[in-house]
């Protein structure tokens, strides 16, 4: 299964990005890692170019909130992304917040899996479960 991943916005948390890359490969995924400082459009374009089934965006500095709002509009411009599993994880707000509220907000933006301040392996287990549920694992 193919996964496009990277860190969104002006965020240079490269260590987290590398750990995600290694963990995905260890679980057998084919990884297309766009690295840090990635624009939202590049994520979607990479999914089109690779035929990835999963788009996994990470954010550590809280910038995801601003970018997340753009997701529905941008995604609507693409004709063939409806079946892609959209996942986001890391530290998804600036400051603190109620996790349930945060998850609900990002789901409204169009993300299927939202992993706010969650252990990486737990998030990857969630991805595995959803992939199996959709019959693409």
């Amino acid at each position: 299964m193919k996964v496009v991943t990277g860190v969104v916005g002006n965020d240079i948390h490269v260590v987290a990005n590398r750990l995600i890359d290694l963990s995905l490969r260890a679980r057998g995924y084919e990884v297309f890692n766009l690295g840090v400082n990635t624009h939202l459009e590049e994520f979607f374009d990479a999914v089109v170019e690779t035929g990835a089934e999963v788009l996994m965006i990470s954010s550590l500095n809280g910038e995801a909130e601003g970018w997340g709002r753009e997701v529905p509009l941008l995604k609507s411009r693409y004709s063939n992304l409806d079946d892609v599993i959209m996942m986001i994880g890391g530290n998804l707000v600036v400051g603190s917040g109620n996790t349930e509220d945060i998850v609900a907000r990002y789901k409204k933006y169009g993300f299927d899996l939202v992993c706010h301040q969650m252990d990486l392996n737990t998030g990857l287990d969630m991805l595995q479960s959803l992939s199996e549920e959709r019959g693409i694992a």
């Binding site: 766009l34 374009d45 990479a46 089109v48 170019e49 690779t50 035929g51």
Partner: protein, 395 residues
């Protein structure tokens, strides 16, 4: 191309011929009523006759270059990478189509020299469908090359006659692979020259490949410090009679293109001070800062209708301003340069005959203050004897 004792270097531009020997650089205004070859031999025949064919190296931008249509599946990868390679291969006229919307694009009426189809990494298949083939069937083109996913190559061969299939320009890490398409486009440029009546006879005087001038200028940039006091990062503006070329250090681009090139190129077609004068004036009239700039230069818009040395000078200053605008976030282009990081701006082309460093720096200061609200002031360097292109074939 460096002038050594036994070499003659010739640049055939849209407005001027330039000839360089070890000691001299000559420039001649072209006679547009004459065949390029006849005009060149009439003006410079004595010099040319002194050299053997294998010692004459020619570059040219006079044939207008190849017109290109790129069809790709995304803006960030396939279209951007193919555009980057085409510009660096010396191509001036590039139109793009985002494949998912192909049915919304009108058909170009002119003959297209080369159509480039690109999309997908090699492990992804079936990126294109019958919509592409229907569009291609209606196009009027001379060459078509596919540089997308290897898994789609056979489908292209089955559906498009005479398609040339080259290795993918996108590798499995989504990085750009330039060499195959670049070589193909450079060779097409040579074939284009050989097929054009008024320029093909240039091969009667040289035994070497004729390259496009921007390709040669781009190749000269890593050695530019040998001739000019340039501080990195820098841009080079070649504001010519028909088009404007910008060559820029890769350090100035925030981009996902990872290549070994130190410098890339882009072109603003129909932005020149001679053949493209009218379109330059239209571009100026569409820019809301133009009138403020004209006031700054102590003239009015009536200058656009004048035929004088002063009008030419103002037009050239406007060209510099418009080019800087097009590269800034103010007017989003194919790429945006980090203009506040530029230390030097090198100018070549026709404008160096007319403008002084002071004339140019006044425009640079105006641009940075008005558009970028900054006091940054890169140093302007003039290639006043057109020498930069002669460095290009040294590589």
């Amino acid at each position: 191309m460096t002038a050594t004792d036994d070499k003659l270097l010739i640049d055939v531009g849209s407005t001027y011929f330039k000839l360089a020997t070890a000691n001299t650089i000559e420039q001649h205004f072209r006679d547009f009523n004459r065949d390029i070859f006849d005009d060149l031999m009439g003006k410079c025949g004595d010099t040319i006759d002194r050299f053997d064919k294998q010692d004459i190296h020619i570059c040219s931008s006079a044939n207008g270059g190849l017109s290109t249509l790129i069809i790709g599946v995304t803006n960030s990868f396939s279209l951007k990478y193919a555009t980057n390679i085409a510009f660096n291969s010396g191509i001036n006229i590039i139109d793009t189509i985002l494949y998912q919307n192909i049915e919304e694009y009108s058909l170009p009426s002119d003959l297209i020299d080369v159509v480039i189809i690109v999309g997908g990494v090699d492990s992804h298949a079936n990126l294109f469908s019958s919509a592409l083939y229907r569009y291609i069937e209606q196009l009027n083109y001379s060459n078509l090359v596919f540089v997308g996913s290897a898994l789609d190559a056979q489908q292209m061969r089955d559906n498009i006659d005479n398609v040339v299939v080259l290795p993918n320009i996108i590798d499995d890490r989504l990085h750009i692979v330039e060499e195959h398409l670049k070589e193909y486009l450079t060779n097409l440029y040579q074939q284009d020259i050989e097929g054009k009546e008024d320029i093909k006879h240039l091969y009667d005087i040289t035994a070497n490949q004729i390259y496009s001038t921007p390709f040669i200028v781009n190749r000269a940039l890593p050695t530019i410090e040998a001739k000019f006091p340039v501080a990195d990062p820098f841009i080079l503006l070649d504001i010519g009679g028909a088009t404007t070329d910008i060559h820029y250090s890769k350090d100035l681009v925030e981009d996902n293109i990872v290549t070994e090139n130190e410098y890339d190129r882009l072109v603003f077609k129909r932005l020149g001070v001679y053949k493209s004068k009218q379109s330059l004036i239209l571009a100026a009239q569409a820019n809301e800062f133009t009138y403020e700039l004209l006031t700054h230069l102590k003239v009015t818009e009536n200058i656009f209708h004048e035929q004088s040395d002063k009008a030419t000078k103002i037009l050239m200053q406007l060209a510099i301003f418009l080019v800087l605008c097009k590269m800034s976030h103010y007017r989003q282009s194919y790429i945006n340069l980090k203009l506040l990081a530029i230390n030097s701006i090198v100018f070549t082309g026709g404008i160096t005959k007319v403008l002084t460093v002071e004339d140019i720096e006044s425009i640079i200061v105006f641009f940075y203050r008005k558009i970028l609200t900054s006091d940054h002031k890169p140093v302007a360097i003039l290639d006043s004897d057109y020498g930069i292109w002669t460095l290009g074939a040294k590589v």
